[in-house]
Symmetry: C2
Subunit: 356 residues, 2 copies
């Protein structure tokens, strides 16, 4: 693997590392961050690790006005034997470049970016939490920095990586969540940016989440923007259903983000010889399966929560209670296996983890 030659400036004032059993999600950041600048004609230059600090931007910077930005999210885990494991980080760098392409942001060298990520974690390795259920959340992101009010790709960008020690995503543990099917708002449509990890998709989703949570639901289930019947994602997660013994997840259609957890789950299920299929699935089909007593499990998948079982689906004034609102057997098995591989307590037949 190639290494990136990084200038490192260590922080002279170390922060106090918070107690690892009291971590929130995404509110505490480590002592250092990685920065890499892009200038048109010069490419990516001056990679550096510096003390975590505010960044100064011109108020006309493109990111504030025209949202040219992409990001990734992955985790590092502390193993029992004091090692640090990353989960499929190459996949995140690949997806970052796919997002870059959609957002007209210059590509990064995936191997060098991964090298930067590893070096940054090595500098802040004391921040990788050790308590059960915790991890170090890693956020690589790129923003357009050119001060220019014009709707065209910027000439300057900044790639950064910040790190946040996190507790479990759902404080209550992997208890099933209640989900409302969204019929007014749309997350993304084919031809849009739904399959890229870019800021605007998340801004677009806030309003729906807000009304869901006002009604006591923890997230929304997104339907397609065209026919408003095909299931796309749940919150910021991919979604799976187990119907009559078969596992079904919406096929990637241009508006769904290609989750790395999703991909890993499909691979795991195939490895276990459990039937799994990627195809279009409508909310009507789910409702029908429920009525027929065939809807066995449903769960969301994503880096933050890994597996998030769905205990209730609310649609058109009806409540579909899935598996009596309890976590399903398969959901539990997938959660245990995947987190086991991630933390190094289970064998990793796929070579998914990368030792720091």
């Amino acid at each position: 693997m190639k290494d990136l030659d990084i200038e490192i400036t260590l922080s002279s004032k170390k922060k106090t590392i918070p107690p690892f059993d009291q971590l929130e999600f995404g509110r505490t950041f480590t002592d250092h961050m990685f920065i890499w600048d892009y200038t048109e004609g010069k490419g990516w230059h001056d990679p550096r690790i510096v003390p975590y600090q505010s960044i100064a931007l011109d108020p006309a910077a493109t990111v504030f006005h025209y949202g040219q930005t992409v990001f990734e999210g992955l985790k590092a885990y502390h193993t029992k034997d004091e090692q640090i494991l990353l989960f499929r980080p190459d996949q995140n760098m690949k997806r970052l470049n796919r997002s870059n392409d959609r957002l007209c942001i210059p590509k990064i060298d995936e191997e060098l970016a991964l090298s930067a990520l590893k070096q940054l974690i090595a500098v802040d390795r004391d921040w990788v939490p050790t308590v059960e259920g915790t991890s170090l959340y890693i956020r690589p992101f790129i923003i357009a920095t050119e001060p220019h009010l014009g709707v065209e790709p910027a000439r300057n960008y900044r790639f950064m990586i910040i790190l946040s020690p996190v507790g479990a995503y759902y404080k209550e543990g992997i208890n099933p969540v209640r989900i409302a099917v969204e019929s007014d708002y749309v997350r993304a449509v084919a031809g849009g940016t739904g399959n890229a990890k870019t800021a605007g998709n998340y801004a677009a989703s806030l309003k729906a989440s807000e009304s869901a949570s006002e009604n006591g639901y923890s997230q929304v289930l997104w339907l397609d923007g065209k026919e408003r019947q095909y299931i796309e994602e749940v919150g910021s997660m991919n979604i799976f259903f187990k119907i009559n013994g078969e596992v079904i997840t919406p096929v990637l259609n241009g508006s769904i983000l290609e989750g790395i957890t999703r991909k890993s789950i499909i691979e795991l299920l195939k490895y276990w010889n459990i039937p799994v299929v990627e195809r279009k699935i409508s909310i009507h089909e789910v409702q029908q399966a429920y009525n027929d007593g065939l809807l066995e499990e449903a769960f969301g998948t994503g880096t933050a929560a890994v597996i998030s079982p769905i205990g209730e689906l609310f649609w058109q004034n009806e409540k579909l209670a899935i598996n009596n609102g309890e976590i399903g057997q398969l959901s539990k098995k997938l959660y245990d296996s995947l987190t086991g591989i991630q933390k190094g307590t289970e064998p990793d037949p796929f070579g998914w983890t990368l030792k720091l």
Copy 2:
């Protein structure tokens, strides 16, 4: 009108004002800017005019990751008798609040925001350019500043206004532009954020513009995301067609931005008793009208270019040359009338302009 009590810190080092006949669009900014902060529980506070400067943000600020941001764009014009006119600024503040609502950003007091805008321009009034075709472009915008990696509305925001003296949007004057109909990418879909002025919409549009311009087209014409046949907008402008004596513009359907130029043009046409209608219009209908020799004019409308005549539409390997690629009579009349009202050289029967 209410006034906002603003703390003003004047710049000690004034910049050199660029020659007004050599202005580009959105690259030069004036000596000062306006800032107003929002803190949950405290509301909008500390309105201030300060020297134009970089702003410092935590790298975890929500705007970089989840794109919670809205903006506006309007212009101030220098009149022959040394006055400064704003064009329908109340409409921009109203739209800003509509965008805020969609993006879960706390509302601003529209009158106070307008007061801030007027005070800022007064401070930088020497920057309002005097040369024909120039104006002062005004960019109010709000960004989420809370450092938090979580997909939920932020607790902190910053409202800013920056000013940029601008030349004509199209350097070549109001010559008709060549437009490619976009069939792969989609700007927005009903239920999404298309009717809000938020960063993500513009990021989503870059890829299509890029390929259009590689093929020699200056912008794309957007079709609806659902059926891919109804016309929505052109570039970042609303669109009008004149077919057989009647003016048609796509009806506001949730994915189209409600342009203030669009609104003004509809009002002007009605005032002139020229038939104008807001309704769905498909690309097939435009093509048919063209084949029948009834497509008389087509033009985009927006603050930046005011009226941008379309000389050619490229669709499915066919080139529709509109009005022989020349500016149409009505397009010209609308441009002259609207810019005349804006600059105060024509009477303003609607009370659209606001004297500073």
